[in-house]
Amino acid sequence: METVLALLSGAMVAASLFLMLGRHLVRFIFGLVLASNAVNLVIFAAGRPGNPRPPLIPEGAQVPAGVVANSLPQALILTAIVIGFALLVFVFILFFKAHQELGTVNTEDMSDAEAIPAEAGAPEKVKP
């Protein structure tokens, strides 16, 4: 189970890197979505999945009987998903706004902030 999850999240990270290295904003977003889900899978795998016993404490007892499933990773992932979702929504809107304002989806052309105004007497070369 953990091996499969490890391979899967590895493949997802590889795919997301491939997407993010492209210069197209939309591809970049998909890469980001994929990467955040890959990380969630890592956390899921971290909780030793595969144990089917629910983490319930029998009536009258203080601790669960025997080894039970770990529910904490689910809580962590839920938090991460909610936060990640909010961030992604913001990124989508920001990308859309940037596309509207700057008129391009090519990340190479979006260097308005880094371009040095020529009339300021600065060196012509734009810093990387």
Binding site: F28, L32, A35, S36, V39, V42, I43, A45, A46, G47, R48, P73, L76, T79, A80, I83, A86, L87, F90, V91, L94, F95, K97, A98, E101, L102, T107, M110, S111, D112, A113, E114, I116, P117, E119, A120, G121, A122, P123, K127, P128
Partner: protein
């Protein structure tokens, strides 16, 4: 009693909620902000007082005992950081009253500012790694929105870089979190300290620690991960870039210091040389980048990077003196850097531009303003008797003591180059005659209200005060360094307080 720990987090959020409906009532919003900032500052001072006299303070949120619940922990470092956050918070709230326009106010400038400060305070106070992630996100979300609030082209393009690289850093942090949880089964930092010390699998620990180093290195602006910073920090309103420059990268530095003393002690981990090399390169590239630019806020942005190098140098050396120097540097730098950004706003009001070529002659007309610039600028460069002199002296002394003569030389040289950039701004903006060709500032632009002057003067006074009487602050920094180097008190306070 221990509610004091949660208060610096609760107050900014409460003020944010209060000022959320007041978008069209700027006076109400600004009054609420000033009250909130004053309360935050007072709480920070009380917290430091408490930590100083009664030792490390711990609050188990919801009475869940550590390591099961989330613990808030304040040692000297955390308390000092919260206090200095309050200082910058207050200064920026004062400055915002005059600078921030009605359109930004309507888009929720003040609530975002409060949420940002709440997130920063949370990051400084939490004792739980996953909780640190959540505070980082709170902080980032607010900073994203603040950065692009004006919706100009430069802000959108700069914001894009900033948002994307910070999201990637966050993902690295989250992955590292998952892996460390898989290894140890805990996320409480004090508990992690014990568990990681007992782990046999050093390879795994090293891999995860590098993930943390990269994630926090991006946030701190460490070489070679800093390129997002000078691409974005000069675009938002001055008040926003002041609080960013003062506090955001420093949260990254704080996280680096915390993780690499408590979780993965640097000595003997093999990472020490890497951290030292990164620190030296950060100092040098930052200061060279600053030398190449000719716009006030870009120069200052690159100086943030070179200064972060000094702090990480202190962390990398890991002697008590070096770590105390890093903490001292951190505190001095936050005050000075935020002030310099605020002053860049003043020079813009007076001279009509951020570009050095268009500025000039300000010394003739604004000698008081020139003095206000002179103090933080030459403190940053390390002139005695200003605060930066002591900060640099402690670190250079510590590197000499540790036998790292090259690093001491680099630190001294970078200080010299900082003088060069600061002199450049001084010469161009204040000293040289104003170029006749530049148009006079637009109507009302040259008017600087007392709301803008007061925080600048207060921060400059604080810089002089630290410079003239560094002993008090150095003692605090030394105590913080001792706690960091010997985390047994920290661990005992968190885990021993289980009742």
């Amino acid at each position: 009693m221990s509610g004091l720990l949660a208060a610096p987090i609760i107050v900014p959020f409460a003020v944010a909620a209060l000022s959320l409906p007041g978008g069209r009532r700027p006076h109400f919003q600004s009054a609420a902000a000033l009250l909130g900032a004053a309360a935050h500052l007072a709480l920070g001072a009380m917290l430091l007082q408490r930590v100083h006299h009664h030792g490390i303070a711990v609050l188990n949120v919801g009475n869940w005992p550590a390591p099961f619940g989330i613990a808030l922990v304040a040692d000297h470092l955390s308390a000092l950081m919260v206090l200095v956050t309050g200082v910058v918070y207050g200064a920026v709230c004062l400055y915002s009253r005059a600078e921030i326009g009605a359109d930004c106010l309507q888009r929720g400038y003040y609530p975002l500012l409060h949420i940002l400060v709440g997130g920063i305070s949370g990051a400084f106070l939490t004792g739980d790694l996953f909780n640190l992630y959540v505070w980082f996100e709170v902080m980032l979300m607010a900073s994203f929105a603040l950065l692009v609030l004006g919706r100009t082209r430069a802000q959108l393009a700069g914001g894009l870089t900033y948002v994307v690289i910070n999201l990637i850093s966050t993902l690295l942090f989250l992955a590292a979190l998952g892996l460390i949880y898989a290894m140890t089964g805990t996320l409480n930092m004090a508990h992690l300290h014990l568990k990681l010390r007992a782990t046999a699998d050093l390879g795994q620990v090293a891999a995860v620690s590098v993930l943390f180093l990269t994630a926090f290195g991006i946030k701190a602006g460490l070489f070679p991960l800093f390129f997002w910073l000078p691409a974005s920090y000069h675009t938002p309103p001055v008040a926003v870039s002041a609080i960013f420059s003062g506090l955001l990268t420093k949260v990254g530095v704080y996280a680096l210091i915390r993780t690499f003393t408590l979780l993965f002690p640097l000595d003997g981990s093999g990472l020490q040389n890497l951290v030292l090399a990164a620190a030296a390169l950060t100092m040098v590239t930052g200061v060279l980048g600053a030398a190449a630019h000719s716009e006030v806020r870009r120069i200052l942005s690159f100086h943030i990077i070179s200064q972060v190098g000094y702090m990480v140098l202190g962390l990398g050396l890991l002697t008590p003196l070096a770590l105390a120097g890093a903490v001292f540097y951190l505190l001095h730098h936050i005050v000075v850097k935020a002030n310099l950004f605020l002053i860049s706003g003043l020079t813009r009001q007076w001279g009509g531009s951020f570009a050095l070529a268009e500025l000039g002659g300000l010394y003739r007309t604004r000698w008081f303003g020139a003095l206000l610039f002179f103090i933080p600028a030459f403190s940053l460069a390390g002139f005695p008797p200003l605060s930066g002199f002591w900060a640099k002296m402690i670190l250079i002394r510590a590197s000499l003591d540790a036998g790292h003569f090259v690093l001491a030389g680099v630190a001294a040289l970078v200080g010299l180059l900082t003088v060069y950039s600061m002199t450049k701004i001084w010469n161009e903006a204040f000293w040289k005659p104003k170029a006749a060709a530049t148009p006079p500032p637009a109507d009302g632009l040259s008017r600087v209200s007392a709301w803008m002057l007061a925080p600048v003067a207060a921060l400059a006074a604080l810089t002089v005060l630290i410079g003239l009487a560094p002993e008090q602050l150095f003692q605090m920094a030394r105590l913080a360094a001792e706690e960091l180097l010997d985390p047994s008190a920290y661990v005992h306070s968190v885990l021993g307080s289980v009742r």
